[in-house]
């Protein structure tokens, strides 16, 4: 497989499976182990959900461009959208320990992305849109 590898998908829930397959193939080609691949799959799914729900505020309002590239010891994934700015600081901190009746699920998606990936960077470029860069490193052997 040649890197970088880029593909554009419609920003809709119906693209999630194809995006998942795209990043999984890249992760496998780079040699990430199963744990790391699982982390990548879940983080990318949450990131795409965020783009559709927040940047585009609904399905089929724009595209999601997904790029995969090799970096030292791992995989870099870049997701671009042309929606409105997404500010991760505006997302509430996840509530991970309140009792059930008081538990709020807000912020969980971002919490997943930050915990499952080794590097996460959100940027917004006026005129083009949001760029989310995520890196997953190979688990050190032994």
């Amino acid at each position: 497989m040649d890197f970088p590898k880029t593909e554009t998908f419609p920003g809709a829930g119906s693209s999630l499976e194809a995006i998942n397959t795209f990043v999984t193939e890249a992760a496998q080609a780079i040699g990430l182990d199963e744990d790391a691949i699982f982390g990548v799959q879940l983080a990318v799914e949450e990131a795409c959900d965020n783009i559709i729900e927040h940047a585009y505020a609904g399905a089929s309002k724009g595209d999601i461009e997904c790029s995969c590239d090799i970096v030292t010891d791992g995989l870099k994934i870049v997701l671009r959208d042309s929606g409105r700015p997404f500010d991760p600081e505006s997302v509430p901190k996840p509530d991970l320990d309140s009792p059930l009746e008081e538990r709020d699920i807000g912020g969980l998606g971002l919490h997943f992305i930050k915990n499952l990936m080794d590097e996460v960077r959100f940027e917004f470029f006026p005129g083009s849109g949001n760029v989310l860069t995520m890196v997953k490193r190979k688990t050190p052997a032994g």
Partner: protein, 111 residues
């Protein structure tokens, strides 16, 4: 995702296959709500064939648990939870919100 619902005397066993994400979670939500509208609040969710759950799926589980536990009329018990699904539950801080049993039989035994 595929769903199979089996109604038993003391509880309903819902087996979920495949991926629970934003695409499929509404179907699971609708199935649970239909049962709850019929006064059924005791559920075993058999997750042994679930490959993947995102926060969209977790949201459905929590909302069902909140509704079921109101007035102590029931609860959602999880069974056969694969390692990857358990990892997602753990990351979301959900492990303390659900009874998690190894087998369906153990899970049904809660009711």
């Amino acid at each position: 995702m595929e769903l199979t619902v089996k109604e038993y005397k003391h509880c309903d066993v819902i087996k979920v296959n495949g991926r629970i994400n934003t695409q499929t979670a509404p179907e699971l939500k609708a199935a649970l709500e239909a049962l709850m509208e019929n006064g059924r609040y005791k559920f075993v969710l058999d997750l042994s064939e679930v490959e993947f759950i995102s926060t969209a799926g977790l949201r459905v589980l929590m909302s069902a648990q909140k509704t079921c536990k109101q007035l102590s009329r029931g609860e959602v018990v999880l069974a056969g939870v694969p390692e990857r699904v358990h990892e997602a539950l753990d990351l979301a801080g959900f492990v303390s919100l659900f009874k998690i049993e190894e087998t369906i039989l153990d899970a049904v035994g809660n009711f």
